[in-house]
């Protein structure tokens, strides 16, 4: 989708303003650690896959997306899929929200389960790889000149606006991985070959606006790209 999350190259968003080194806590508020932990635990519950999780964040109200802290985006996605899975009831969320707003120090329910801690201790070091091997033959190789197709699909995609229609050279080839344009839209893993494409700044932003002596790499799945020549002859 052409969502507000697709930020690469947008102007006017203000200062980055990093704080001085050494003064950035891991969590800038207590609630952030709870919001973070919801992600692996709701994943464990089977509420979403990683690509679906991203798609929920992309569908946030745009002003809210830009003005909220990143873990609020996560909360939004956890709620969205918790409701879809039938684990969370919107009316009940509102009721509890009012309760904790009026009683911020009221405790959480005390219900422990060693299996949840064991899951955390297992998944963080193990991860969950998106790499797949279905034996599909790669259509492209390192060194190929390719153009990103300029389609603007409505569902989840990782084909950012700023690389659509742009031509670059394949720098790395990574084998097959889960295809977000399928998985993020609830259509299964449908693995595709992934490549890293190198674009010059001039190709992305035009000779006048581009900073000199620079490049950007962007990872694409095979359906995102076509051979550069065929795109040019079609145009």
């Amino acid at each position: 989708m052409n969502g507000i999350h697709d930020l690469g190259g947008r102007d006017g968003l203000g200062a980055v303003a990093p704080p001085p080194p050494g003064v950035e806590p891991v969590w800038k508020a207590e609630w952030e650690k709870h919001a973070h932990a919801m992600f692996p635990l709701a994943f464990r519950a089977g509420h979403f896959g990683l690509d679906e999780f991203r798609f929920a964040m992309e569908q946030m109200e745009p002003v809210e997306y830009l003005t909220s802290a990143y873990y609020e985006h996560w909360l939004h996605a956890v709620e969205h899929y918790g409701v879809r899975a039938g684990a969370l009831d919107p009316a009940e969320i509102e009721k509890r929200f009012q309760y904790y707003l009026e009683n911020p120090d009221a405790p959480l329910p005390d219900h422990q389960d060693p299996a949840l801690v064991e899951f955390i201790e297992a998944v963080i070091p193990a991860g969950a790889s998106a790499a797949r091997d279905t034996g599909k033959v790669a259509k492209f190789a390192v060194g190929d000149r390719v153009t990103v197709v300029a389609d603007a699909p409505r569902g989840h995609t990782r084909k950012a606006s700023y690389v659509r229609g742009k031509t670059g050279v394949i720098e790395l080839a990574h084998g097959e991985m889960i295809y977000p344009d399928a998985a993020g839209n609830g259509q299964g893993e449908a693995p595709e070959h992934v490549y890293t494409v190198l674009f010059t700044n001039e190709e992305l932003w035009g000779a006048e606006a581009a900073e000199p002596n620079g490049s950007v790499t962007f990872d694409v799945w095979e359906p995102y790209i076509v051979p550069a020549a065929s795109q040019e002859s079609a145009a």
Binding site: V16, K33, H34, Y70, I93, D110, S129, Y162, E211
Partner: protein
């Protein structure tokens, strides 16, 4: 220092109180369903506060600076090389280390969300996740590095920005500081900063 205007609204006490209450509401319901527990939250927090952070990336970089064969393996397959040191996992299942040289300086970003190599760098700082960095670092990286991070890259050095749009997780192998020829890996670790592995700063000087 100016606060980025895109996050100013999130910083008010009223908004923070509302978010905290909403998180607590969802957590309470998940606990009652048996999907979440305060002990599991505490364990996640402890891991990313004390166990998994940029000190692990620093260990990998210092080893690469002192062990040419390890460095070759790291650049060939960072996931496999890091696993030799017991480093890897969530959000670093497929890692790629990119080497800074006099000819090219690397920077990482995720313009579409906030992908970041957790096993070597821990959780990302806030600025990495916020709109300004994600929008600008691909369009005007030299300016952002110079004006926002005080890091001037020579005109003769290419700036290459890696947008982490897939599940590959890129991070930077910075250049070894001058004057450290006889330093041990343990001494060198202390020079490797998180920012130098993101590409928005240099390692500390010797």
């Amino acid at each position: 220092m100016t606060v980025p205007h895109t996050v100013a609204a999130a910083a008010t006490p009223e908004h923070q109180a509302e978010v905290a209450a909403r998180v607590k509401a969802v957590e309470a319901l998940m606990i009652e369903k048996g999907l979440m527990s305060t002990e599991a939250v505490d364990r996640v927090a402890e891991i990313y506060e004390n166990e998994v952070g940029p000190q692990l990336g620093a260990k990998v970089v210092a080893k690469a600076w002192t062990d040419p064969e390890f460095k070759a393996r790291l650049l060939e397959n960072a996931t496999v090389a890091c696993a030799e040191l017991g480093i890897g996992g969530l959000q670093g299942e497929e890692m790629v280390a990119v080497e800074d040289t006099d000819d090219v300086h690397h920077v990482i970003v995720c313009t579409l969300c906030s992908c970041y190599p957790w096993p070597v760098l821990g959780l990302p700082p806030n600025w990495y996740k916020q709109p300004a960095y994600r929008a600008r670092i691909v369009r005007e990286p030299r300016k952002v590095l110079r004006e926002e991070f005080g890091y001037a890259v020579p005109d003769t050095t290419e700036v290459r920005v890696w947008d982490s749009s897939s599940e590959l997780r890129y991070w930077v192998l910075p250049q070894r500081p001058a004057g450290t020829e006889d330093w041990s890996a343990e001494q060198l670790e202390a020079l490797v900063t998180r920012d130098s592995m993101v590409g928005v700063g240099a390692p500390k000087a010797a």
